[in-house]
Amino acid sequence: MSALPAARPWHRHEEAWAIFIAMGLVLWVTLGYFLGVSRLVEAAALNIPTWSGGLATATKALGARPAAPLALFGVFLVAFSLASRVMGWDVARYAAGFALLFACSLLVALLGSNQTLKSWQLETPLIALAVGMALGNLVALPAWFQSALRTEFYVKVGIVLLGATLPFSIILKAGPLAIAQATVVAVATFLAIYLAATRLFGLDPRFAATLGAGGSICGVSASIAIGGACRAEKSHVSVAVSMVVVWAIAMIFILPVGARVLGLSPGVAGAWIGTSEFADAAGFAAASALGDDRAVKTFTLMKVVGRDMFVGVWALLVAILSVTVWERRRASEAERVGGGEIWRRFPKFVLGFLGASMLVTVVLASIDAESGTRFSSEALAPLRTLRGWAFTWTFLSIGFTTRFRELTRFGWRPLAAFAVGVLVNVPLGYWLSSHVFASYWAGVR
C-alpha cells in the first residue's frame, strides 16, 4: 500500500509561495515609495560594497549599516517561515537552517565583493557554488540545515522579483524573438537527442523524449514534465535528471568562461546562456557570474519567456505521440489526452514574473519622468538587491545539494545521447545569439 500524500491545494505549493513572497515585496516597495517611507524598505536592502585590503575593511563596510543584515534576515525569515507553515514544512527546523544559510550567504557575498577575487572573475555565484559543493560533498550536513536548502523555491522568488525590474515593453518586444530563437534550438536539440537515443543507442522512445526534453526545453522541469506526460519509467526520468544536473553544473563554469574568451557583450552572453544552459537556477548562476545585470536580463528573457513557458505545449504533443505512435494504437482507441495537460505542466511562477513586470510598468507609466527616476532608485534598486540575495541562497543551495556520488548512476548510452544534444545546442545557441539576433541582445539595457 502506498503512503499516499493528499493532493495539495494550489496555495500549499512552493511555486505559489514564491509568487506570494516576491509579489508581496514588490507591493511593499511600491507602497513604501508612495507613502514616503522608502527608508523602511531600504533598511533591508543590504549592499556590500567592493572592498580590498584586510578583513577589517570588509567588516567595516558591513558595520556602516549594522541593522541592514538583521533587517534583511528578519524580512525573509518571517516570509519564508509563514510559507513553511502553510506548506507543512517543519518551521523550527527550516528557520534554524535558513539562519545558517543566511550566515553562509553573508560570508560568500563578502568574499564576492573583494576586489582581488573580482579581478580573477570569482563573483559571488561561483564562490557560493564552490563553497557549497565543497562542504556538501565533504561534510555530513545536519538534517535541519538541509531542510532550508530549497533551490527551486529561492530561484522562483528571484525570478518573480526580476520581473519587477524588467519593463513589460521589453518582455513584449523580446518575446517573439526569444521564442523564435528558443524554438529553433529546442527543436534541433530535442530531435538530435531523441534520434541519437533511439536510432544510434537503441533506447526506449519515452526515455529518449525525456532525455531530449531535459536537454532542449527547460532542464529538470522539462524532464519531469515530459516524463510524466509520456509515462516514462521512474528510473529513466531519474537518469534524465542526472544528465541535466551534470551538464548544467558543468555549463555554469564553461559558458561564462566561453563568453569572456569569445569577447561577447553581456546582453549576447546572457542570451547564449539562456539558450544553452539546461536549468534555470544553474543558468542564473552562469549569467550572474558575468557580473553584469544585462546578462541576467537577457538570460531571463531567453530562458523564462522563450523556453520555460512552452513546456506545457511540448508535454501535450509528446503525450499525444506517446498514446498513439509509441503505443501503436489508432487515435480512436488510444487513451484520451486533454488540453488540461498544458496547464498541468505549465510553470506557474512565469505568471508571477509577468505579473510583477506588468505591475511595475503600470506604476512607472502612471507617474511623471522625474518621479519615475526616483521610483527606480528608491523602490526598484532595493528590490534588485533583495533579488540578489534570493539568488545567492539559490547558488548556495545548488552547491550544498549537489552530491557528485549520486550523479554518476547512469549508463554510457544516455550520456552519449545527451552529449550529442550538447554538441548541437551550445554552438547553435552561440551562433543565433551572437550573429543572427546579436544586435537585439546587445542593445538590451
Binding site: 499516499l4 529538470v220 510524466g228 506526460a229 521512474k234 482507441e333
Partner: protein
C-alpha cells in the same frame, strides 16, 4: 532523484457499475481513492505503465480511464 504520483480516473462516460469495477481493480493493485470529489485513485508506488498494463489485463480498454503521471523532484534536485 524523483518521486511520482500515478492517478487514474474512470472516464465520465462509464456506467456506475463499470467505474466501480475499475476502482476495485485499482484498489487491488494498491491504489487509494482520493476522499474528495470525483473518483480519483492514486498511488506513489505503482508506475503508470504498470497500472495501464494491469488494467488492460483485467479487460479495461484505454478509453475507459484517464491516467495522469506526475513526477516531482526529490529534495535537493536543481
Amino acid at each position: 532523484m524523483v518521486n511520482h504520483v500515478t492517478s487514474v480516473m474512470p472516464e465520465r462516460s462509464l456506467s456506475e457499475a463499470r467505474a466501480a469495477d475499475l476502482g476495485a481493480a485499482l484498489v487491488d493493485l494498491g491504489f487509494e481513492r482520493d476522499r474528495r470529489g470525483r473518483a480519483v485513485f492514486r498511488s506513489t508506488t505503482v508506475e503508470a505503465a504498470a497500472a495501464r498494463a494491469y488494467l488492460r489485463g483485467r479487460g479495461f480498454g484505454d478509453r475507459e480511464f484517464r491516467l495522469v503521471l506526475v513526477y516531482e523532484r526529490s529534495w535537493g534536485i536543481l
